[in-house]
């Protein structure tokens, strides 16, 4: 393989990073950097001393918090939410009611508001998890309208008039009320105090959002955004992650809402309309979907822009709308798009010597297997020894309408062998794979893997049981770097909790490091380490296949299903593939292979099963299959035209 050209990482202010101060700076943890920058911001604006612009800046900070929340839902997880203002409203009303009716301190209302909106997120999320994106858009829009109407009609919430006399924030011995309202009366004003508080809240929101984005959770979200089906199949619990995205998004909205309530002094339902939801959505798209700096820039642009247009007050929405369309036409990726690639992702990790690598992977794999086997046996399940059946399929049938795609198929795959499934197009090979991996629920039949039935389990649980797979049409996560693609494959092995990811605890960091190291090993294993920082879409067809194999192997499965791995490969690449497949077998991983390339199948397989029209027509060693009259007639062709048949099948 040819060495990849170095990818230039696009870093803003790269020259600053190379100065000495810059080097110290980049070594600080993210939270410290954010807090320091926040401190500077908190000091600078009051010193500038223009109350009007401070007020605008406080508004922008509030919107930035909202944007960070919606960015989790729409930017990372790819769930289009058109009713995000509902969370803003729920947060604001929760805080306002607690402050006005129960005389709570503002800072004490924050955790309550955040919890309530998180719950609201779960309530919205739960019934909508299985909806497709456009349907989701209308349901979220409906949720937003329902919330607004409910608040307007709720007498306890003040009805259409809302809640007034919401107190300013206070800490014992000090309240914002004590401060002068304008600059003319003193140096540090009420607006300045709000600015300091808003910067503090924004910094917290930003730090948590950053931690989530750079954890396994953020990776899982992006994977499910890119290809929900593939994410589920490689072990990402997509439904649970979607729900988590709604909860997290709701929490950020609650934070922004509570702050809005105390800042604005009086709230009413008109602040939480569809227009608000749209403004937040526009904010994150303008800035660059899924990009944290983008959210900050987007907040500044969408809040300050209309202020600058104030002189033409009547037409400002028109001008704003036209600017928005132009922006989408000429820079649809946003002002500061998210970049998910790195030239040297493994920088600073321990190196593996290539010759020791295989031994090392083998040792680790065996250790893991032994550990799991012990646990498995302890739980009372039968562990298949080498040469014993690890996968038992009995009477498997699947039907689409009137077509019997798979008809009463039974076979056993022995632990440690390479088992191939061949047959003409439409024979039901991929359907068998889909029934095994939980993508489809078979109409009838038994599927027992490693002593336990896996029939009807969701795909991510099948993956967690040790059944990895690749796809007929390549399904890598296109906007993720190669190394991240492989890291997603390890998702099911993670043991850290969400709170650890939020806080970026040492335990979580260590696990991320291990995951990265593991991803690198598997990339080395398939010979793709040099391309690890590229985007998946930048690779050739054959290289993408190999990354897919690395992703399937990364969770140390017992058995991998490879669906037409040789399709579209040239002879050299096929040769390399044979090497990879035999190396997988040498690890002790059982391989089930579908392919049309007969010479490849004959060469690597221990046993072959031939399907035709959904039925097994032959099963045996390669030599037996070659001689089997039914196979020759149905698939291979007679001796004299064998070459043609293979050529046609491979095409």
């Amino acid at each position: 393989m040819q060495a990849a050209p170095p990818v230039r990482e696009r870093v803003a202010f790269g020259w600053l990073r190379d100065t000495r101060l810059g080097q110290v700076w980049t070594r600080l943890p993210f939270w410290l950097r954010t807090m320091l920058l926040g401190l500077v911001a908190a000091l600078v604006l009051p010193a500038y001393g223009d109350d009007y612009w401070t007020r605008v800046a406080v508004g922008a900070a509030g919107f930035a918090i909202l944007g960070l929340g919606l960015n989790i839902v729409a930017g990372y997880a790819g769930l289009l939410d058109l009713g995000y203002a509902a969370f803003f409203a729920i947060g604001a009303y929760t805080a306002a009611i607690l402050m006005v009716n129960f005389h709570w301190n503002f800072f004490l209302t924050l955790p309550v508001a955040v919890t309530v909106t998180g719950l609201a997120g779960a309530i919205l999320g739960y019934p909508t998890l299985r909806l497709r994106s456009d349907y989701l858009a209308i349901v979220t829009l409906g949720f937003g309208e329902m919330t607004r109407v409910a608040i307007t009609n709720c007498d306890y919430c003040g009805g259409p008039n809302g809640i007034i006399n919401i107190p300013f924030p206070s800490v014992p011995g000090f309240t914002v009320d004590d401060l002068p309202a304008t600059v003319a009366q003193g140096f540090f004003t009420q607006q300045d105090a709000f600015w300091v508080i808003s910067i503090f809240l924004l910094a917290i929101a930003l730090i948590f959002a950053y931690h989530l984005a750079h954890s396994r959770i953020g990776r899982g979200w992006v994977a499910l955004r890119e290809d929900e089906f593939a994410a589920e199949a490689v072990g990402v619990p997509t439904l649970r992650l979607k729900l988590l995205a709604y909860v997290m998004g709701g929490m950020w909205g609650g934070l922004a809402g509570a702050f809005f309530a105390t800042r604005i002094y009086a709230i009413d339902p008109t602040s939480f309309t569809f227009a608000t939801s749209v403004q937040v959505l526009i904010l994150i798209v303008l800035g660059g979907l899924g990009s944290l700096p983008g959210v900050l820039i987007g907040a500044v642009v969408t809040v300050v822009g209309p202020e600058l247009l104030r002189p033409v007050a009547d037409q400002r929405i028109l001008i704003y709308a036209i600017a928005l369309i132009l922006m989408m036409l000429f820079r649809p990726q946003g002002i500061w798009p998210a970049v998910r690639r790195k030239p040297k992702p493994f920088y600073g990790l321990e190196e593996d010597e290539p010759d020791k690598l295989a031994a090392r992977i083998l040792r680790e794999h065996q250790e893991q297997e032994a550990r799991e086997d012990k646990k498995h046996e302890g739980a009372g399940h039968k562990v298949a020894a080498v040469g014993e059946p690890i996968l038992v399929v009995e009477g498997l049938s699947q039907q689409f309408g009137g077509v019997k795609a798979v008809d009463n198929v039974s076979f056993e795959v022995l632990r440690g062998e390479i088992f191939s499934i061949i047959g003409p197009n439409g024979a039901g090979k991929t359907t068998v794979f889909n029934c095994l991996t939980g993508v489809q629920r078979p109409r009838s039949g038994k599927v027992v893997f490693n002593g336990r039935s896996i029939r009807g389990l969701p795909a991510h649980q099948v993956a967690a049981r040790g059944l990895g797979r690749t796809f007929q049409g390549i399904r890598l996560f296109r906007q993720m770097a190669v190394f991240e693609n492989v890291m997603v494959g390890i998702y099911g092995k993670h043991r850290t909790m969400t709170w650890q990811a939020l806080l970026h605890t040492p335990g979580e960091r260590a696990e991320e490091q291990r995951t990265l190291q593991e991803a690198r090993r598997w990339l080395q294993f398939v010979g793709m380490e040099s391309a690890s920082g590229k985007l998946a879409t930048e690779l050739s067809y054959a290289d993408q296949r190999r990354v897919e194999i690395a992703r399937a192997l990364a969770s140390h499965p017992r058995l991998v299903l490879l669906d037409e791995p040789a399709a579209g490969m040239n002879p050299t690449e096929k040769q390399e593939l044979v090497t990879v497949i035999t190396r997988i077998r040498d690890l002790g991983v059982t391989v089930v292979l579908i392919d049309h390339d007969m010479s490849l199948v004959m060469r690597v397989s221990d046993r072959i099963m031939v399907l035709d029209l959904g039925r097994v027509i032959a099963l045996g060693k390669p030599a037996q299959i070659r001689e089997n009259p039914r196979v020759i007639e149905g698939y291979l062709g007679r001796d004299d035209d064998e070459e043609d048949a293979i050529g046609a099948a491979g095409a």
């Binding site: 289009l80 209308i138 309208e145 709308a321 369309i325 649809p332 796809f471």
Partner: protein
Amino acid sequence: MGPFLQYTINGLTVGSFYALVALGYTIVYGIIRLINFAQGDLTVVGMFLGWSLLTQFGIRLLPLPVALFLAFLIPMLGTAVTNVVILQLAYKPLLKRSLLAILITALGASLVLQNVVRLIFGPQIQAYPDIVPLNGFGIGPAHVSYLQVVLFAASILLMLALYLFTQGTPVGTAMRALAVDHDAARLMGINVDRVIQIAFVVGGLLAAASGVMLGIYYIQIQFNNGFLLGLRAFTAAVLGGIGNIPGAMAGGMIIGLLESYTAGYISSKWQDVVVFGVLILVLVIRPMGLFGERVAERM
């Protein structure tokens, strides 16, 4: 029983307007998977074009049928052209890009239309002249105005025409082909750009037709009517299964009836909550809408 019949009649009338606007959403969505947020505002554009023809250009001096014909025809042509202009300027360059970018553009287009209407016709409420007599007849205790009958019949005819158009004509067949697979349709020799344009023309025609009807029925119109109208109509399209023409019709009727019953038996304040509550319930049970078909994903 008395009020029930009356609510049903009112609901069906309103529902038929929603259905017409919903068809505009559905026909565009079916082809390019875009929620055309501008559809509601386009309806308002048609509404105001009709209003200005009837009040400011003196076509009322013509015999009533001719006047009505012109009051529908000219706005329909106007909105059809507007819709195609929006398509060419704003959506076309983005068709191959992310769906979200087009969606945001559509929101932008909606705002632009709304504010252009405001700029030209003013922010105040305007009133349609009462050109059609309001009297009617009774069915038992319920009252049906001739206007309701005419409008209801007209929208049913339009829907029927559209249905036959998509099912029976070559262009309609091409539209349905595009709804399934753009590339395959292109390979079969379908002029994809042209078909998309036709879809937008149809969407525009429907917008003004429903707009003028709404104006005649409700009398009072304002530049920002488009949002709520669009929201209801889009809900109708989704309820029926978006992209599906009979579904949009049924969805519109259901929403109209739900609104009417809620207003009659509970309170008009809770209309939206009931409508969206039913929508969410339906989608939870049938994620593809009432008439939508489940699309199997090919691995």
